[in-house]
């Protein structure tokens, strides 16, 4: 697709954040992905033009990182953590359940374009295992049943809340967030959930606290 002038203005906004323009490349790739749902040849060309790089230089970067997709993902890109900390605690079972239910495998998209699946590695949420993500928002402490429920709801356009974050929005919308464009959702969801508070709660129950400075 041909990008609008608006996209180029945003790209220049990103470039202006950095002392050296090339540092803007990763967020710019998130930006073009937020417009197209993947990184196309046109998206690569836009980054190259704005940064004075060759398309080969940009493609070399775009293909290194797993979050950049060279073909469209679903409106809701679902990650299932299969790293042992989650996989053993139930992630592997969730993965096979979702594959069977949706009839797709890793890096594949349902026919209606709604859901894609990815086997993901550690999401830094092992205390909330098994963990899934929907467009990278946390879905913590999942079971095969709750996983199916989430994808069915997303497929049929119903609202799904992240367990530590906002209502699940589209893949493109979240890519714009990662490019650094504020979405006004900072206050969504809890500040800290039960697992994050487990130690503080226990300390209070036992009357424990850090000593005051003298």
């Amino acid at each position: 697709m041909t990008f609008t002038e608006e996209t180029r203005v945003k790209a220049r906004e990103i470039i202006a954040r950095y002392p050296m323009s090339r540092s803007a490349l990763l967020p710019m790739l998130h930006l073009v992905q937020s417009e197209e749902g993947f990184v196309s040849a046109d998206g690569i060309a836009l980054c190259a033009e704005e940064l004075g790089l060759t398309t080969a230089e940009v493609a070399a970067v775009a293909t290194f990182y797993t979050m950049y997709h060279r073909k469209p993902v679903g409106e809701y890109h679902i990650g299932v953590c299969i790293n042992p900390g989650c996989g053993i605690l139930g992630g592997d079972a969730i993965w096979s359940t979702l594959c069977n239910r949706l009839g797709i495998g890793n890096d594949e998209v349902t026919e209606d374009g709604k859901i894609s699946l990815e086997r993901i590695e550690c999401q830094a949420a092992c205390t909330h295992a098994p963990v899934m993500t929907a467009n990278w928002e946390f879905l913590d402490n999942m079971t095969p049943e709750s996983a199916v429920d989430v994808v069915e709801k997303l497929k049929s356009g119903q609202e799904v809340m992240s367990t530590r974050g906002p209502r699940i929005r589209s893949f493109k919308e979240n890519e714009a967030t990662l490019a650094g464009f504020d979405d006004g959702l900072v206050d969504a969801g809890v500040n800290a959930d039960e697992s994050m508070l487990a130690g503080l709660k226990r300390a209070k129950e036992l009357g424990m606290s850090a000593p005051e400075a003298k």
């Binding site: 290194f64 900390g85 996989g87 079972a93 590695e121 550690c122 300390a203």
Partner: protein, 438 residues
């Protein structure tokens, strides 16, 4: 008064039970943004001395003394300096920086102000892994609030000190947690490690003197500056002073964040976390990520310090213990971790690129029940060929899980020359929803 052994001591996490804990208002209600003003009065050299004297060690995994790292940044060289915060938390088992940034991002921002002031950096970057948009929102909001309060930007509080802070999202690459790969990635390149020397302190970001520090490390700084070296050293041991966000995960009844002095034992942490899930017992545990050797129940009384865990044959790493009970197949776990390292190897150096492929391939044979005794020797040899011979620590990490598992569970690998792991150990029984009515 000395802190009683086994205590929990919430500092970074002390106010997470207040719903607005991530806002500047909450942070300031509890004394936030007073430390950087003290730092401005004391001057950069005094801050570096304080951090050195505190004995604070890097919380990202390597445990390098933070003040010493700062002091490597040459001063008066006329070049721009950069502070880069490593917020690329991706180590399997590590899940403490992400909660910290969700619930208390201002401790990080104030730490950045003080650290940048100390090393005379006028530009700081937070390199956050891309897969956490809600953390991005919380940290970006904290930066915005700090600018609005006049704590970031030009001539902060009339001090003459300028600081710009930029939040930067990565895009899915574990290797970018390696500091030189992170710098290449932040420069808009493939995230591959650099040959050292030169070290980042001499030629880091944009070939300028730079310092890369972990999130939790930097978040400690305001508390150290505010409360002093003696206070900080009242936690932990001589060689491992301070407190730590221990993220306890796996087969425990109450997985979560437990903030305690370094030196608490795993048995004490387990008790706080409600013990191993009911009716089960510990089979093996990893003190700080999949990149450190596993330990067994006999090591549960080891103090969680850099020195004691090292003595026990492992490493404290990220200080985020993962606990697995007797329903877990060690063959399956190790095969899973090696699939991870194979996936994340950046491909730059041959030992890691080829070696992770081969270890992973041979381990799959065991998982499927047709490894051979010769394969065990082969794996030992491949691990020896990678360790110490790869470009960065990822190769060393990849050659860690198997030898450690073999040391304690050789019989299980022998069993896996005949029987698939999933037959010896039912995967269903190891899940958290096993036997739970659904």
């Amino acid at each position: 008064m000395a802190i009683a052994q086994g205590s929990l001591t919430p500092v970074l996490s002390a106010h997470w039970d207040e719903a607005d804990s991530y806002t500047i208002g909450a942070y300031m209600r509890h004394g936030g943004y007073t430390a950087f003003k003290k730092a401005f009065q004391q001057g950069p050299d005094q801050i570096i001395t304080t951090v050195k004297d505190s004995g604070l060690r890097g919380r990202g995994g390597a445990g390098f003394p933070t003040g010493l790292k700062w002091s490597f940044v040459p001063q008066g060289d006329g070049k721009p300096h950069y502070l880069v915060v490593n917020a690329d938390e991706s180590e399997p088992g590590a899940c403490k920086d992400i909660p910290l940034m969700l619930a208390n991002p201002h401790a990080l921002i104030e730490g950045i102000i003080i650290a940048s002031f100390a090393m005379r950096a006028n530009h700081a970057f937070i390199y956050l892994r891309g897969e956490v948009p809600h953390v991005f929102r919380r940290v970006n909001n904290a930066i915005r609030e700090a600018y609005q309060a006049g704590y970031l930007g030009k001539n902060i509080m009339g001090s003459g000190f300028d600081l710009e802070v930029v939040l930067h999202a990565g895009a899915g690459a574990y290797i970018c947690g390696e500091e030189t790969a992170l710098l290449d990635s932040l420069e808009g390149r493939r995230g591959q490690p650099r040959l050292k020397p030169p070290f980042p302190a001499v030629a880091g970001l944009y070939a300028s003197p730079s310092c890369v520090n972990n999130v939790e490390t930097i978040a400690n700084i305001p508390y150290i500056v505010n409360n002093g070296v003696d206070w900080f050293r009242s936690f932990g041991t001589e060689k491992s002073p301070g407190f730590k966000l221990f993220a306890v995960s796996g087969h425990v009844n109450r997985p979560g964040i437990y903030e305690a002095p370094l030196g608490i034992t795993m048995r004490e942490l387990l008790e706080h976390a409600g013990g191993v899930r009911n009716g089960h017992k510990v089979k093996f545990w990893l003190p700080g990520g999949s990149s450190v050797p596993m330990l067994t129940p006999e090591h549960l009384d080891t103090p969680m310090t850099y020195e004691a865990i090292s003595e026990a044959g492992s490493m404290l790493g990220t200080g985020t213990p993962m606990v697995f009970d007797e329903t877990t197949s060690v063959v399956r776990a190790v095969t899973g971790w090696l699939a991870f390292y194979k996936h994340e190897s950046c491909g730059k150096c041959t030992p890691c690129r080829e070696g992770t492929y081969w270890i992973s391939d041979v381990l799959h044979r065991f998982e499927e029940g047709h490894g051979t005794e010769d394969d065990i020797d082969k794996l030992v040899e491949i691990c020896q060929q990678i360790s110490g011979r790869s470009f960065c620590a990822l190769g060393d990490a990849a050659s860690t899980p198997f030898p450690a598992a073999l040391k304690y569970f050789r019989d299980e690998f022998l069993q896996a020359t005949r029987t698939p792991a999933n037959e010896t150990y039912s995967p269903e029984k190891a899940t958290v929803f096993a036997g739970v009515a659904r």
